[in-house]
Each structure stands twice: as structure tokens, then as C-alpha cells.
Amino acid sequence: MAAKDREQLLHFYEDMLRIRFFEEKVRDVLLPGKLFRGSSHLAIGQEAVAVGAIHALREDDLVVSTHRGHGHAMAKGLDPRSMFAEVMGRKTGCCRGKGGSMHLSDAGLGFVGENPVVGSNTPMAAGLALAAKLEGSDRLVAAFFGEGALNTGAFHEAANLAALWQLPVLFLCEDNLYAISVPLERSSALQDLERRAEAYGIQGQRVNGMRVMEVYEAVSRVAQETRERSVPSYLVFDTYRFEGHHTSDKQTYRTRDEALEEFRKRDPIHILEFEMIDDHTVPIPLTIEYRDRIRAEIDEAFEQALQEPWPEADEALAGAYAEGGE
């Protein structure tokens, strides 16, 4: 393997570990410690999609995400400390404690934000892409959503419009098999999800979402086409969430064995580690070194965020409106 490829693979590995350890901290420390409110939607198992896809984008490309967006946010460059602070409701969070786990955003990084209303981000992506097109920019917009969003009217209106107006949108569907409790076969008349935009002339492709390099290559390919021809693209990633829909999900709709079996066979981080080790790209001790280093980094980000101040209660009353205008 070329040194450049090795470096890139290690970069992916590092980003995937960072997302995994962040979310494990949410699950294992924040949840039992009652350090966040409401619930948090973990993407443990889906890291390869976030990392592979976002690394295939340009820095000035925009990303809209879902309630399950910690990974997308971090892959787009959000700092774990500001994410922990936001999830814990601190004043120093990326949204000053007004958004929380489901509404992370960072305008400067082109992370337009998580939108936890399923399907709702796809017309927004079309609007962001329309702006790029009107400006004459070749920036594109990546919209992540779960397979549940394919059943919303919003997705179909957005897909039609994006195709009709030739907008540079990447529709990136993370098929994790469950819409909360309802499995795919009971929610979609068509099981071939990659065909669900065919009516708009958008040919979808299915991609193994557990192999980060496959995700990266597939997104790189369609991104180039979308950028050059200003047309939408659509990919469906096979993936799986090893955790519940959110942190209070009792997961009565599947067996623990199913999730464990999937984890044993399909954990994208294990897959990447085995591949790197098997082809001697990376020696085992280096993976351990990476794991220790990233875990320490996440621990430190968490400890820092834990010390950060709460917002004043009255900050709630400000910020609903922008002052002034043109």
C-alpha cells in the first residue's frame, strides 16, 4: 500500500475512533450520570458512512444531517469539547446550549446542522444547492438521512426538484434497517432502496456502509459527477446501529443476539483494523496507540466541557430574532 493511502486510512481510522469514543462516553458516562437531558441518538456502527462520505467532500461543501448526527458533525470538523458542552447544555457549546444533541451546527465549518425532523433536511439541501448554483459556485450539498426518510413526502418533493432544477445535492441514505422499531420490510413497499429515486431519473447505488474506503470511493465518484454536471446523486449505505434508536430505547423489536451478532460481523472499526493489520499496513501496537491517544483526547474534551459554565437562565429569552436587516 502506498504511503499516501496508508496515511489516509489512518486518518479515517482516527476520525472513526473519535466518533466512537465520543458516543461511548455519551452512553457510558453522560447517560448514567444524567449529564444530558432528553435523549441522544447514537450512531455507533455508522461511523464509516460519516467519515468516508465527508472526507470525500471539499471543505466548502455543506452538510445537513439528522438527529443521529454526532458523527457527521465531528467528521465535518466540530470540536468534541464544544459538542460535549452542547450535549450537556453548557454556555460554551457549539449552539450555546440552545440546541443540544439533536441540533448541533457550525456555520463556519459548513455543518449547516442536524435536523431531527425526519426528511425535513432534504428540501433544505435543495435550497442550499440552489444558492450554490445561482452563485456560480461548484460547491455541493450533502444531505444525510436514514431509510425512514425515504417514506416522507419531503424527500420526494426534494428529489424531484433537485432533478428538475439540476441541483448539486448528494442524497446519502443510511439504511440502518430500523425506523425506531419498524423494520425496513414493514415500512417500504420497495426493498431495493436504491431505486426509490428512479421516478425522478436519479439512479441510486447501494454501497457497503461498513467499509470506510468503499464509502469514500463511492462518494468521491458521485461527488465529482454532481459537481461537474450539477445534478443530484443518490447513494444508499448498508449499515446498522448497534445501539437503540436513542438512549432510552428498550429495543424490544430486536434481540440482543441480533445486535451482538451484527457487531461481531460488521463493526466498521473492527473491519478497518483487521484489514489494516492483515495486509500489514499497520502493526497491531499502532492501533493500540491510536485507540489510547484518541480515548485520552475524548476524555480530556469531556473533562473540560464538564467544567464549563451553565448559561444564565435568562439567556433563554434572547436570540429568537435577528436584530435589524438590510
Binding site: L62, G93, C94, C95, R96, G97, K98, G99, H103, S105, D106, A107, G108, V112, G113, N115, V117, S120, T122, P123, M124, A125, A126, G127, L128, A129, L130, A131, A132, L134, V141, G153, A154, E157, A158, N160, L161, L164, W165, G319, A320, Y321, A322, E323, G324, G325, E326
Partner: protein
């Protein structure tokens, strides 16, 4: 020096404002159903596509969710979209974008984004369109923090307020009355921007304050003339913007007249008349000599047949009766 005025319709006032703002700022873009080639079902965008091109004036498919969402996305990326939703009843389709996204993105991002969007939409009844094309839904949107709501009555207000709405950095729901597009009124020849959130006394009077907006305001002005013949001197206040509401102007008027009537076309229950009465009660109950009166639609959908529609939508006579009731 007297203002130079010209007489134009409400639809022309809207079109004039759109055209001027598009010339002023190339980030202003329009889209919606039939707004381009056809010029809008009420003619409010006639000629704009020809003048500004298809990039800036776009016909959309019948996809209100997409229209709303595209407006949000384009605004987040720095444009100032004006999206037309053909009937305000169809705002129900677009409401996820308006209520969940446009209204909240700034707040829940901790102030990182601005959403300069105008959602123009015709509302109101009186034209025989029945229950699904005649509603007055201003209270829905005035109830949502993050939105501004404008409901102009006269062409001058429509033109000046729309300009302000387009220049505002917040999402504005701009409700036009469909039975009012051919209503004529005078507008200054010179450019005029009417700030949002400022009421106007449309008729000064000393005996009773009538607060009203949109088409009903013109009924209130007619009612005031009828009442004048009886020696009742009615002050008519047009809030023009319903969110934010210029309650100070209303309180100032009540300080003088000591009587309050609120007249609107929307159903009474949960309508903005209740909010205005409540704010007056909290702050100036002692100013009122008599209980306030609301003149609004009964709690039924808008019926089709003319005698029934006239029964449901408040008319001049209803406002006259309301004023008499308020005076005891």
C-alpha cells in the same frame, strides 16, 4: 409639500415592492407555483420573470414542502428568498419548513444563522372558495417564536411593509387578502419602507377604538362612517404587523377612547382578538369603561353558499353592532 400619490391596486402594490427589491438587491429571489411565466394566480408577479430571468423568478412544482424547505436552504446560504404559497391554507404543507426550520434555526443554533425569508400567501374569504381556500390563519404563525407576521390592509401598507419584510433578517409570514387584490388605494410615488411592528391610526376618533387588519380593516373604516352619522366618533387602528404587535399604539388609543373592539376575519376562538384583549386587560383594565368586544368569525369552517359565507365572515354591520355593544 404635499406627497405625490398614485392610485394602484393591492396586487400592483405587491408587484411594485417585489420589483423594486429585486432591483435593489440581487440576492432577492422569487419562487412558487405559477409565479413565473403566468405571473401568479392573482397577478402579483406579472412580468417579473421576463424582467429578471428564470433563475431569479422560478415556477415550482406543486410541492409546498419543497418550496418552504428550499426557501430555508437558500436563506441559510445568503439569499433573500420570497416564496409564494398560493393559498394560505396550503401553508399547512409548508409549515414544517416555516415553523420547525425557518422559525427556529437561528435560535437553536445559538445565533449562528440568519433566515431572511418572506413567505407570501393569500388568505381570507368572501370570494366563494369555501372551506379549504378561505381561511385566515394569522394566529397560527403569530404564535410561533421566531416568525414575524404581517397582514396589510391598504395598497400603501402592502407595498411599504413588503419592502421591510424582504429587508428583514427574520422569516416573515406575509398574509395578503385574496379578495383584496383588486382593491385600489393611493401610494406615494416616492419609495416608502414601512417598518414592521408599527401600527397606524387609520382614522382618528374619541369614543371607541376599533383594532382591525387585512380586509376587515376596510369594513371597520366603513363602519366608522356609519357610526359617525349617529354621532359616534370611532378611532380605527391597523396594527399592520401582528407579530411583533404594537400594543403601545392600542393602549394609547384606549387611554383616549376608553372602549375597545377588535374585529378580524379569523375565527374568534384562539384568534388574535383574544390576545389583544388579554394584553389590554393586563395592562390597562382600568382604562376600559365597558367590557371589550370581539367581532370575529363563529367557530365553523367557511361555507360555500353566499348567504352563509356572509353570515360567517364579519361584515360592516357586524362591526357597527360590535361598536354599539361596546358602548353599552
Amino acid at each position: 409639500m404635499a406627497e405625490k400619490l398614485r392610485n394602484i391596486t393591492f396586487a400592483q402594490a405587491i408587484r411594485t415592492a417585489l420589483r423594486a427589491e429585486m432591483k435593489r438587491d440581487e440576492r432577492v429571489i422569487l419562487f412558487g407555483e405559477d409565479v413565473g411565466y403566468y405571473g401568479g394566480v392573482y397577478g402579483a408577479t406579472v412580468g417579473l420573470q421576463k424582467e429578471f430571468g428564470e433563475d431569479r423568478v422560478r415556477d415550482t412544482p406543486i410541492s409546498e414542502m419543497a418550496i418552504g424547505g428550499v426557501a430555508v436552504g437558500a436563506a441559510l446560504a445568503g439569499y433573500r428568498p420570497v416564496a409564494e404559497i398560493m393559498y394560505c391554507d396550503f401553508l399547512a404543507h409548508a409549515s414544517d419548513a416555516i415553523v420547525n426550520n425557518a422559525a427556529k434555526w437561528r435560535y437553536m443554533s445559538g445565533g449562528q444563522f440568519a433566515l431572511p425569508i418572506v413567505f407570501r400567501s393569500p388568505g381570507g374569504g368572501g370570494a366563494g372558495y369555501a372551506a379549504q381556500h378561505s381561511q385566515s390563519l394569522e394566529a397560527w404563525f403569530a404564535h410561533i417564536p421566531g416568525l414575524k407576521v404581517v397582514a396589510p390592509s391598504l395598497p400603501r401598507d402592502a407595498r411599504g411593509l413588503l419592502k421591510a419584510a424582504i429587508r428583514d433578517d427574520n422569516p416573515v409570514v406575509f398574509l395578503e387578502h385574496k379578495a383584496h387584490y383588486t382593491f385600489k388605494g393611493e401610494v406615494p410615488v416616492e419609495e416608502e419602507v414601512i417598518p414592521l411592528g408599527v401600527a397606524e391610526v387609520k382614522r382618528a376618533g374619541n369614543d371607541v377604538t376599533v383594532v382591525s387588519w387585512s380586509k376587515t380593516l376596510t369594513f371597520a373604516l366603513e363602519a366608522a362612517e356609519t357610526l359617525a352619522a349617529e354621532g359616534i366618533d370611532t378611532e380605527v387602528i391597523d396594527p399592520r404587523t401582528l407579530q411583533p404587535l404594537d400594543i403601545e399604539a392600542i393602549l394609547a388609543s384606549i387611554g383616549k377612547t376608553r372602549h375597545l373592539v377588535v374585529a378580524h376575519e379569523a375565527v374568534q376562538f384562539g384568534g388574535l382578538g383574544g390576545e389583544i384583549v388579554a394584553q389590554v386587560a393586563e395592562r390597562a383594565l382600568d382604562s376600559l369603561k365597558r367590557p371589550p368586544v370581539r367581532v370575529a368569525a363563529p367557530f365553523v369552517p367557511i361555507p360555500y353558499s353566499e348567504p352563509m359565507e356572509l353570515r360567517v365572515i364579519p361584515q360592516v354591520a357586524d362591526i357597527v353592532a360590535g361598536v354599539r355593544r361596546s358602548l353599552g
